[in-house]
Symmetry: C2
Subunit: 223 residues, 2 copies
Amino acid sequence: MAEQIRAIRTRQNILLAAAKIFEQYGYPAATISQILSEARVTKGALYFHFQSKEELAQGVLAEQDQRLIVPERASKVQEIVDAVMLHAHRLQTNPMVRAGVRLSMDQLALGLDRSGPFVRWSEVGLELLQKAQAQGELLPHVVPAETADVIVGSFAGIQSMSQAICEYQDLVGRVSALMRHVLPSVVVPSVLASLDLSENRGATVYAEALKAVEEQEAIETVG
Amino acid sequence: MAEQIRAIRTRQNILLAAAKIFEQYGYPAATISQILSEARVTKGALYFHFQSKEELAQGVLAEQDQRLIVPERASKVQEIVDAVMLHAHRLQTNPMVRAGVRLSMDQLALGLDRSGPFVRWSEVGLELLQKAQAQGELLPHVVPAETADVIVGSFAGIQSMSQAICEYQDLVGRVSALMRHVLPSVVVPSVLASLDLSENRGATVYAEALKAVEEQEAIETVG
């Protein structure tokens, strides 16, 4: 067990170093030996977890998926809003999430398949939108797959713009504005009127999700 | 006059080389000597036009602004749609426009101020939205500066997603979907019903703008 925890820590340590090196030198120029000396681990330890620079990058990219679970809501549209606002909040506050998003937006990393995060986020959105549709939350013309792609793509650009202009200081305001612009074309008015699209929604959901994790851990410790 | 044309050609030649090198190595790792040997110009010629790597990057970034002028429309909202769809069309077809957009989306180019294109596109959008508001095209709650930022940011992400997934093959479809999702929250219904948001709008506007440039040049030759 202790060994397992050590392995997880080493892996995380290597990913943090990789994220830092990719950020500093860009994916094309970064080298594994730079990542090795940043992580202060042996070559063997690194290759035990990751076979190549591409695998390291995929590891960093995947970090943004390991999001806290958004609490279930009666309104599936609110659940989508919560997932989006939580992600914005984590982008503002968590360096690994930020590194993953930066890498997936790096259009210069031509050798790297960056489609993963886009596709995975679209799938999350699609599933929630289909549930929303099944319970009558969506306007009749809506095509869930198209709307999911519009939200995921738009979010990616809004965060990039916020980072370029002010290092994410205005991110939650911009994402809230995006939701207010897109959802009226998607959601029936009665649902729209009951949504919480406020700027601090992400922080609220984060606190709620964290509390759920802590309670789960407390149960496991007792058990 | 011949000398002036030569200088413009040299400058364009250097920018193309710089775009290629930034694309290949990433902004942080690219060097001026790589750009020199790609452009096949002398050091003196390069430094006559650009003092530093940063200036070269700013030159590449600025290329996306030198867009063909969108023909005036009675509906200023249609003019916004035309500017957006024309830009999507040029992204699909023009390598220099593509290089500028890629560089402005390079979140790893930390030493480079990438806010320029975002800010300039937002200004173009703001001006058109203010005109649209003045002639009663917008819903009463709309704040033009906020809507301009949502459109510019969303577009940036949609193009990045399209590039990551299929090298821009589905770009115009995705941008058309973005317009259909955002504009119903912005525009009065009677204007909305008369807009052309179709996928081939960009190609149509491009042909129209090109014809206008050719006619202008014909007049200047005769005069």
